[in-house]
């Protein structure tokens, strides 16, 4: 299995609070991604990174920001959590732009 660790595994937070999810990889892969999974939608891309300090938006980026200060860490921040951001969040990595994506085990976030 690819060395990807997501933390926390579960989180419950209140509306309006900031939340940061962490993705840590030990594979030294260049590309990292954040997806959210909701029933009926499969997985949708939030943001991705193609190198340290190089990030770009995905299809559902509103309300989210990311940072990548080191190759191994990719952080996803919800500045002010809303109930619509209740979801399962997956981090993924790939070595090259044409390599398969390998996923972490996900973080279940509940915003009450």
């Amino acid at each position: 299995d690819a060395g990807i660790t997501q933390s926390p595994r579960h989180k419950v937070t209140e509306t309006g609070t900031p939340v940061t999810l962490r993705c840590h990889q030990t594979e030294n892969h260049r590309y990292m991604y954040w997806y959210r999974q909701d029933p009926g939608h499969g997985l949708r891309l939030i943001h991705y990174s193609y190198g340290v300090k190089d990030t770009d938006k995905g299809e559902v980026s509103d309300g989210y920001s990311v940072s990548r200060s080191k190759t191994e860490d990719f952080l996803l921040t919800l500045e002010s959590a809303t109930s619509s951001q209740t979801s399962v969040y997956f981090c993924a990595i790939s070595e090259f732009d044409r390599s398969p994506l390998h996923f972490g085990n996900g973080t279940r976030l509940t915003v009450t």
Binding site: H41, G42, G58, E59, F90, A92
Partner: protein, 115 residues
């Protein structure tokens, strides 16, 4: 924008039988990859099989094979000799490098395997 459609929300199969999961996609590109991912109850996303669009030969991985019809933009997954451990959500996904290297997923098909 690319879209991926899985028209079967749920499927069931008898153990040891064969089942085919459907996937269609929409794209104007000629160079792309297609994937099937499996998600068991553990929530882990597991790559099952992938197909390069420029290859005419259908990909095969043990009991899993695909039927790739490029002109029809169809990419179905066939599971032979179904096992109880095959029960999971299955997601079809499309990837193209002109679209920001995004992996676009279908809505998923839940496969149940009956003993």
């Amino acid at each position: 924008a690319q879209t991926v459609t899985q028209s079967q929300p749920e499927m069931s199969v008898q153990e040891a039988e064969t089942v085919t999961l459907s996937c269609t996609y929409d794209t104007s590109e000629s160079d792309y990859y297609l994937f099937w991912y499996k998600q068991p109850p553990s929530r882990q996303m597991i790559l099952v099989i992938r197909q390069e669009a420029y290859k005419q030969q259908n990909a095969t991985e043990n009991r899993f094979s695909v039927n790739f019809q490029k002109a029809a933009k169809s990419f179905s997954l066939k599971i032979s000799d179904s096992q109880l451990g095959d029960a999971a959500m299955y997601f079809c996904a499309y990837r193209n490098w002109n679209a920001g290297n995004m992996l676009t997923f279908g809505g998923g098909t839940r496969l149940m395997v009956k003993p």
